[in-house]
């Protein structure tokens, strides 16, 4: 089974059992739910995408912040240049985690907004260098020197970084969750994830380029895969640098003038 634990910090009063039961009803059918009302912590063991669980919690009218994801986990923030404080039409978060310590493979779970509707190629590239935007991250991550292929192919028939396509709906949002049996979280940390303008033909295009990148076109967005916190590793509620609380964080810029006042 590929269900994993996701930890959310949810804004609730101490020992607010009434809200806890509201939340249990809201998350009914998602998976196994543990609610710690003392710490304001909700741990969900689920096979659903994290964005869906997050939306369900926020639909109860409280703010929720994902604070831990699976075991060894990594996260990539996606935008047009891959840099940190960029506000561009394409925005997304993709998370990666191991399933269990002994099971190989990675759960890839993400949501990307601002795409054109339809399929877009989705690949891991070998470098995490975004100094020249998405152009400088190198080619597909390919430790076995194999041809480009589909994400369901054998390890020798695909690049390790070939994750196929993601599909954006009419609103331009792509939500996806799948398990890749070949990648390892420790192996992809520090590399980059790239979304392309057109669909990946999975190596079946019949021309030379198809065996290199699946004719997937220009790179429209990318992000570096960075280390992130697993379950119960992240107890922070207030940023030590300037006292902005977890709940107000999303309304503040990541860095800069608005962040430097000490409370």
């Amino acid at each position: 089974m590929s269900s994993i634990k996701i930890e959310f910090a949810v804004q609730m009063r101490k020992d607010d059992e009434a809200y806890a039961s509201v939340l249990r009803t809201a998350l009914d059918g998602v998976g196994q739910v543990e609610i710690d009302t003392k710490e304001g912590r909700v741990i969900v063991q689920t096979q659903r995408p994290w964005s869906e669980v997050h939306d369900k919690i926020e639909a109860t009218g409280r703010k929720a912040v994902l604070s831990g994801f699976g075991g060894q986990s990594a996260v990539a923030l996606i935008n047009t240049t891959g840099s940190v404080v960029d506000r561009t039409p394409v925005q997304g978060v993709v998370r990666f985690t191991t399933i269990t310590a002994r099971e190989p493979g990675v759960v890839v779970d993400g949501v990307v907004d601002g795409l054109t509707p339809g399929l877009h190629g989705f690949h891991i590239h070998e470098s995490g260098d975004v100094s020249a935007g998405c152009a400088s991250v190198g080619s597909h991550y390919n430790p076995r020197q194999s041809p480009h292929g589909s994400q369901t192919a054998e390890a020798a028939e695909r690049h390790a970084g070939d994750l196929g396509n993601i599909r954006a709906d009419e609103s331009g949002r792509a939500t996806f969750r799948f398990v890749d049996p070949i990648l390892e979280v420790w192996d992809i940390i520090g590399r980059a994830i790239v979304i392309t303008a057109s669909a990946d033909d999975l190596g079946n295009g019949g021309n030379q380029q198809s065996l290199i990148d699946g004719n997937s076109g220009d790179r429209i967005a990318c992000g570096i895969i960075a280390r992130s916190a697993g379950i119960l590793e992240n107890f922070k509620r207030i940023c030590a640098c300037d006292g902005v609380t977890l709940w107000d964080e999303r309304n503040k810029p990541l860095a800069g003038g608005d962040r430097s006042q000490k409370l």
Binding site: V85, S127, D129, Q145, A226, A240, E249, A255
Partner: protein
């Protein structure tokens, strides 16, 4: 005698296999950016890390522009996670849980890289060599965050309460994730599934004149002080190593 040497070399080779397979320097890069300021300036630039061989010192080249004149604290943070702003990058990378210090102090966080002194031009291009950080092994900095602070890092010697934790360096003006930066052509050649043995050891029975490669022990599950009476048998399901 020669045999010991060969075995010792083989050991070193196993530990450093990642570096040796590529047979060239390991590089990592962080592209730091800050928000665009009112006067249209923006902190941005590259920080590159180069380690010529594993276990060796790391050369850090810092090229930044748009920074205010003065000293700015510069640290590696534990996570590279930007999903909830710089707050989700965690604290300074500090696997030993020790006090904050300066880059040349005996006691320091692994991620304490001290201060950058920026002149009136607002640009900086310096190279600095650090003996503590590494791009390989268990304590790799790849995938972690690189942060430039607003104020001077007091290197743990100030009187402020945060001095021993963060150096009281104030807010974060720019940050970036440290990514791998291997040259495109140098992906390691496909190794056969079974690695060729690096040295010959007669394997009928253990040889006491051979230095066997160290096996990695699993982390000991019980924290000090150990329970008394001592739990026996050893609390692992798999057999003991040498």
């Amino acid at each position: 005698m020669l045999r010991y040497l060969v075995v010792a070399l083989a050991l070193c080779a196993t530990i450093c296999s990642a570096a040796q397979a590529r047979n060239n320097a390991i590089q990592a890069i962080a592209y730091l950016t800050g928000p665009v300021q009112a006067d249209n300036s923006q902190v941005k630039g590259n920080v590159t890390f180069t380690q010529n061989d594993c276990g060796q010192n790391v050369h850090v080249r810092i090229q930044l522009e748009g920074v205010k004149e003065g000293k700015h604290g510069f640290h590696i943070h534990e996570k590279g996670d930007l999903s909830n702003g710089c707050a989700s990058m965690g604290g300074h990378y500090n696997p030993d849980k020790v006090d904050h210090g300066g880059p040349h102090h005996e006691v320091r966080h692994v991620g304490d890289l001290g201060n950058l002194e920026v002149n009136s031009s607002g640009t900086i291009d310096i190279t600095y060599t650090d003996t503590v950080i590494s791009l390989t092994g268990k304590r790799t900095i790849i995938g972690r965050g690189c942060v430039l602070h607003e104020l001077e890092d007091d290197l743990g010697q100030g009187n402020h309460t945060d001095s021993k934790k963060t150096g009281n360096a104030g807010g974060r003006i720019a940050c970036g994730v440290i990514g791998v930066n291997y040259p495109t052509e140098s992906a390691p050649a496909p190794a056969s599934h079974h690695q060729a043995p690096l040295f010959y050891v007669p394997h009928e029975e253990p040889q006491d004149h051979v230095v066997y490669p160290l096996q990695r022990y699993p982390p000991y599950p019980l924290a000090y002080p150990y329970p008394h009476p001592y739990p026996y048998p050893y609390p692992y399901s798999y057999p003991l190593y040498l």
